[in-house]
């Protein structure tokens, strides 16, 4: 009624009828808020009207997904695979028997039997408290099998029961394994636990994020190191009719808004495959870090990863063993490690080879070697002169030359 009244008043004014001065302004004739809002900021997009959802029961959804209703709004989908199941060219249980290299597992102990594999499907990618997981994918080894459990919620209200169910499974494990989970899935789940007032089970667990070792190994080889790239290029696993992860939020919103279950199965399948890939990626990366040349990883990057993981000996051994496969950076790195071990002849050989190809860094190394170790100032001068010829009279080169020449005298 008040909306109509104010509209009338507006029309009267627009048609030029001056309101009489006696008329008192009244607060009751306030224009509806949405009208006032859109007057100031016109609508930019035409969203479809939100019709209230067609009611679809949890039971129906559970049947569609071949799952089971655990409580109101919470559906559990369980699948069991033998540990010997091959996902691409690697067995899911490949990590059960092997020790993982340190650059993959980090400094902490790792036992695949005490690991929980985790991947979320969320309402968005932006992070922050406004994004929630509507599908939590979990995987773990039990009695020689790999168990996949997915929890799907069909309403916002069911989130708390899902978190409780997830916490119950995670609690008994020691390590979380994820792909990009250190920056995304982990913090997001912790935020949800915090908001729901449930103790965060992740705080007591180590976190192995496989994106990092994968990226270190392949970032200079592949255009990107997304999960799908690792699957295809390293694991030879090819998804068929996969739903792009970016479409998942829309699918779920269509479910809660309209009761629309279209593509819901595809989302669940997508998430299930993510969990399998996490498990199979452990043996795949173990192979990568042991025999980089076999999977096309860049040897020098693997060597540097061992350095960073505090295993200089493994790094050195790998480089020596793979010397024939090394590119220029690899050779420089190997020479550096020879120098550290004072194996001067070996280092010098590499530098000399590279210096012949006019590699300035190698020439500089030679100059330093001749000046400080070999004390052949004449030879050092020659190297520096070559350096100046190649890269111009940079102040530090000129300074070095003057210093060496003073020593000659």
């Amino acid at each position: 009624m008040s909306g109509l009244k104010s509209k009338l008043k507006l029309l009267r004014k627009q048609s030029g009828i001056q309101s009489s001065l006696e008329e008192q302004p009244s607060n009751e004739t306030k224009t509806p808020l949405s009208q006032r809002f859109h007057r100031s900021r016109p609508k930019t997009s035409n969203q479809p009207p939100i019709n209230k959802a067609i009611k679809i029961s949890d039971q129906q959804i559970a049947e569609l997904l071949n799952g089971e209703v655990k409580s109101q709004g919470l559906i559990e989908i369980k699948r069991t695979f033998p540990a010997t199941f091959k996902h691409g060219r690697f067995e899911l249980g490949g990590a059960l028997t092997k020790q993982l290299p340190t650059p993959i597992k980090g400094e902490n102990n790792f036992n695949a039997e005490k690991a929980i594999f985790l991947d979320l499907e969320t309402t968005g990618l932006s992070g922050g408290t406004g994004t929630l997981a509507f599908l939590t994918g979990l995987g773990f080894f039990k009695d020689g099998n790999f168990q996949v459990i997915l929890y799907l919620i069909t309403s916002f209200a069911a989130e708390k029961s899902m978190l409780n169910a997830v916490a119950k499974i995670i609690k008994n494990q020691k390590t979380v394994v994820s792909f990009n989970g250190k920056s995304f899935d982990g913090p997001l789940l912790s935020t949800r636990f915090r908001l729901a007032g449930i103790a965060d089970p992740l705080t007591n667990l180590n976190h192995v994020d496989l994106l990092h070792p994968a990226r270190r190994a392949f970032r200079n080889v592949w255009p990107n190191c997304r999960l799908q790239s690792v699957e295809k290029k390293l694991m030879s696993f090819h998804r068929k009719n996969d739903l792009p992860g970016s479409e998942a939020p829309e699918v779920w919103l269509n479910l809660v808004r309209y009761g629309n279950t279209e593509k819901l199965r595809a989302v669940v399948k997508h998430n299930g495959l993510d969990i399998l890939s996490l498990a199979a990626m452990l043996p795949a990366l173990a192979l990568t870090y042991k025999y980089p040349e076999k999977v096309g990883a860049r040897v020098v990057d693997i060597a540097k990863a061992y350095q960073k993981a505090n295993e200089p000996t493994t790094s050195f051994t790998l480089l020596k063993k793979q010397q024939n496969y090394l590119d220029r950076d690899g050779l420089i790195e190997l020479a550096k490690q020879y120098r550290r071990e004072k194996e001067w002849q070996k280092a010098k050989e590499i530098w000399t080879d590279l210096a012949n190809k006019e590699d300035t860094e190698a020439i500089l190394c030679l100059a330093k070697y001749e000046e400080h170790i070999n004390k052949n100032f004449f030879s050092a001068t020659n190297h520096i002169n070559k350096l100046i010829k190649l890269s111009g009279p940079l102040p530090e080169h000129v300074y070095r030359r003057d210093r060496v020449q003073a020593k000659v005298v």
Binding site: K9, L10, K13, Q14, G16, S19, L21, P25, T31, P32, L33, S34, R36, F37, R39, S40, R41, S45, Q47, P49, I50, T123, G124, L125, S126, G127, G128, T129, G130, T131, S155, F156, A157, P187, S190, T191, R194, L195, P249, L253, V256, R257
Partner: protein, 797 residues
């Protein structure tokens, strides 16, 4: 140093300089104010103050508290939200540091400090750390802003006792990630908001909503922190603080700090061309005064309004004082854009008394400690009385006499100030206004808040109907109602698209294509883009001229190239304005006025090219841009047609009177509301959008209707009721115009005296706007016409 002190004494110090100016430049001084010295009012340390803190204070030379510091302590101890109004250099940081440090030592409290800028945060942390060291308090204080490295953030969140940040960071970085800050929020006992007076207008309205969100998060974590505000002198600090947090606040406004004798001169540069009313530049005058001060061994500071002006004045002064490279530098400059380390170095040299004169922008106005100065020169009016006093407060610390000189530039605002000294010298400082329920701002923050925590059906946020707002957001598909809660559903991070400094969406970026490398050099508010970024416009940044090549309206981009032009451009816009609703009106014998909602359409039709210095019109250009529509709030005045007819020979003259009156009202309204002139729009028309008037390309007032020229000036059968409008130049309004209505008598009277006092013959840019030479010839005085209109608006007196 020693030598200069001797000079200082031999030439009579500040008093000598005052006498010199009074005898030699008497004519330039339009106003003179003397504030006698004041003794300090001291109190003992509170008995319950932790002995470690007492020790820290004593080791820094503080033996007693000022009365206002002690009052703040008592108020905060009683858990009252408190605002302390403090002049510069009155030890305001102690007001909040004492209760905060005490609570940290006694109950592991956490505190959040908010400063408007990053630089101030740094200073603050440095100060706390010094106290910390002196008293071995073991308190951890960190800054958290855009410069905080990623790997340090976690430590700040989990280990900081005091986190020093800014509103933008709180809005975009902390609140949307509050769960990461859970430990911090669970122990949060204090929120300190310094430089309260900055939070006014659009920024203040946003801030109030950010604080609504903050309080919501605090409630989630079960805490109710005490707010401590510090403000420079404004008229309504208590009211502003109360509006920001929505609950009563205790105001402490009696300062116990001492100060020396202070003198203030208002200085108008002499006329160098009396015929044209052209005055010497303020820059040359400021430089001259600074030279006199330095010659007398007085430490001085020159405040300039732009970075480029800082550079120019510094150069002039260095030419005089630093020409000998063998001697230590006596002149220094300080502005934003310098590296933080350079700025810290300058601050250190200032504190150590090694600099004789510093030239600075307002970057030095806020809080930064630079020690004792004798003379403060303001090159141009800073825009507000409050801001002026704050800068002047830079001189005269530590009980020494001080001199401030406000040198007027040629802008209308400056000329108004120096020609109406009684206004400035007698003025109480301005009130700061905010509109926390401005609909667009409110809705944006409801959006951000819904992202942070779901809203419940019975929740409140602001004073509009929250359910209606949430329904609006549901229509947009960003929230979903389920059960009794509203859940965020969009895949977006709403805080990133809400800027705390503007209302409209979609700022324009200015892209320099001169060197083919496409560099973004500026950002322009959506509402001012049509007036400044049309194709052909000369756009200036730090006095470098760029010409707009191409404007991509939908992409919100303007492509510019460096140019050298001997002219600048001025857009011609037609504003049609229709009254939608009046909230309040008043009627007088001759006139009527009202306050309400208006709809305006602005068309930017073309632009003038105006040659520098001579100001002659050297060409026109056409502009093709979409019309700008805006609903906003406005105040308006009109004169009863009979009275108007009696007062003017013809309608054209009456119209010129209205345009001149509007110009003057606009100037005084900007002063009155502490706004920039562009925050307020003005228009003259009939209120039904049937006709509107502009100062057209010809310089004369002309009338148009929707089709073009209107016959209202000739056709006696059409009622002629010109109306002057002052409106909030933001979509939806931000509450600027309501106070204009409440204080309309004062406003009109000030506008009248602005025009009356101006000693130009028939009107000039300092009073009613530029007029044509032809007016001089035909004997018509637009100035007189404007005075007639203003007089009628105030019912003849």
């Amino acid at each position: 140093m020693h030598e200069s002190k001797q000079d200082n004494i031999s030439k009579g110090g500040v008093h000598g300089l005052v006498r010199h100016i009074q005898s030699k430049y008497k004519k330039r001084i339009t106003g003179d104010l003397l504030l006698p010295a004041k003794k300090g009012d001291y109190r003992d340390f509170p008995e319950d103050l932790d002995s470690k803190i007492t020790k820290a204070l004593k080791s820094r030379g503080i033996e007693k508290l000022y009365s206002h510091q002690e009052a703040a302590w008592r108020s905060v101890q009683q858990k009252q939200d408190t605002v302390v109004v403090t002049p510069t250099a009155s030890g305001k940081t102690i007001c909040y540091n004492l209760p905060v440090l005490q609570a940290i030592l006694q109950s592991k409290a956490k505190a959040l400090y908010l400063f408007p800028t990053k630089a101030l945060s740094q200073d603050q942390v440095a100060e706390i750390l010094e106290l910390n060291k002196a008293g071995e308090l073991g308190v951890r204080a960190y800054t958290f802003d855009g410069d905080t490295p990623g790997d340090a953030r976690k430590a700040v969140r989990t280990r900081g006792d005091i986190v020093v940040s800014n509103p933008d960071m709180l809005h975009q970085g902390i609140l949307p990630h509050h769960t990461k800050w859970a430990q911090f929020f669970e122990n949060l006992q204090f929120i300190v908001i310094d430089e309260l007076h900055i939070y006014r207008g659009v920024f203040g309205s946003h801030m109030a909503n950010v604080l609504r969100r903050l309080r919501r998060i605090c409630q989630f974590y079960g805490v109710k922190p005490v707010f401590i505000f510090c403000s420079a002198t404004i008229a309504n600090p208590g009211e502003l603080a109360q509006k920001l947090i929505g609950s009563p606040v205790t105001t402490i406004d009696k300062s116990g700090s001492p100060h020396g004798e202070k003198r203030l001169f208002l200085w108008n540069p002499p006329k160098i061309n009396p015929d044209l009313g052209i005055r010497a530049s303020s820059r040359s005058q400021s430089t001259r005064i600074a030279r006199m001060a330095v010659d007398r061994g007085l430490k001085s500071i020159v405040f300039a309004r732009s970075r480029i002006m800082v550079e120019v004045i510094t150069k002039y002064l260095k030419d005089t004082f630093d020409s000998d490279p063998r001697k230590p530098k006596r002149v220094s400059s300080y502005r934003g854009g310098y590296l933080p380390t350079d700025r810290r170095e300058t601050e250190k040299r200032l504190r150590g008394g090694q600099v004789d004169c510093v030239v600075a922008t307002s970057a030095l106005e806020l809080g930064v400690d630079i020690g004792s100065l004798d003379v403060c020169i303001l090159n141009g009016y800073p825009g507000t009385v409050a801001g002026t006093w704050q800068r002047l407060g830079r001189a005269g610390r530590r009980n020494r006499p001080a001199l401030g000189v406000l040198v007027a530039s040629s802008t209308p605002l400056d000329q108004f100030i120096v020609r109406n000294p009684e206004f400035f010298l007698g003025a109480s400082p301005e009130s700061a206004r905010i509109a926390p329920d401005q609909l667009l701002i409110l809705v944006d923050h409801v959006r951000c808040a819904a992202f942070e925590l779901p809203f419940g059906d019975s929740d409140n946020f602001g004073n509009e109907n929250l359910t209606e707002i949430l329904q609006l957001l549901e229509e947009e598909g960003v929230v979903h109602h389920e059960g009794r809660q509203w859940h965020w559903t969009a895949d977006s991070y709403p805080a990133n698209s809400v800027s705390l400094r503007s209302v409209a969406e979609g700022n324009f970026v200015v892209i320099d294509t001169t060197a083919n490398n496409k560099k973004v050099i500026a950002e322009v508010d959506f509402s001012s883009a049509p007036m400044t970024l049309y194709e052909g416009a000369i756009y200036m940044i730090q006095a470098v001229e760029y010409q707009v090549d191409k404007l991509d309206w939908d992409g919100r981009k303007a492509f510019v190239k460096k140019t050298m032009a001997d002219y600048y451009t001025d857009a011609i816009d037609y504003t049609r304005l229709k009254i939608l609703d009046d909230f309040d009106k008043s009627q007088k014998n001759n006139s009527e006025s009202a306050h309400g909602e208006v709809h305006l359409i602005r068309r930017v039709a073309g632009y003038k090219k105006i040659r520098y210095h001579t100001h002659e019109n050297v060409g026109f250009g056409k502009i093709n841009l979409p019309d700008q529509e805006m609903h906003t709030t406005s105040v308006w005045w009109s004169i009863k047609p009979d009275e108007l007819e009696k007062a003017f020979a013809d309608r054209a003259q009456a119209l010129d009177g209205f345009l001149g009156a509007a110009y003057a009202l606009h100037t005084v309204a900007a002063v009155f509301s502490m706004s920039e002139p562009q925050d307020i729009g003005r228009a003259v028309g009939d209120g039904n959008a049937t006709w509107f008037a502009t100062t057209g390309p010809s310089g004369r007032g002309s009338i148009r209707n929707l089709e073009g020229e209107s016959s209202v000036l000739e056709d006696e059968s059409i009622k002629f009721r010109p109306t002057v409008f002052l409106y909030d130049n933001y979509p939806g309004g931000v509450g600027l115009s309501a106070p204009f209505f409440d204080s309309q008598a004062v406003l009109v009277e000030r506008a009248y005296s602005l025009v009356k006092i101006c000693n130009c013959p028939k009107g000039c840019p300092a009073c009613i706007g530029p007029i044509l030479a032809s007016d001089e010839e035909r004997g018509f005085s637009p100035k007189k016409a404007a005075l007639t209109v203003l007089n009628l608006l105030n019912d003849g007196g």
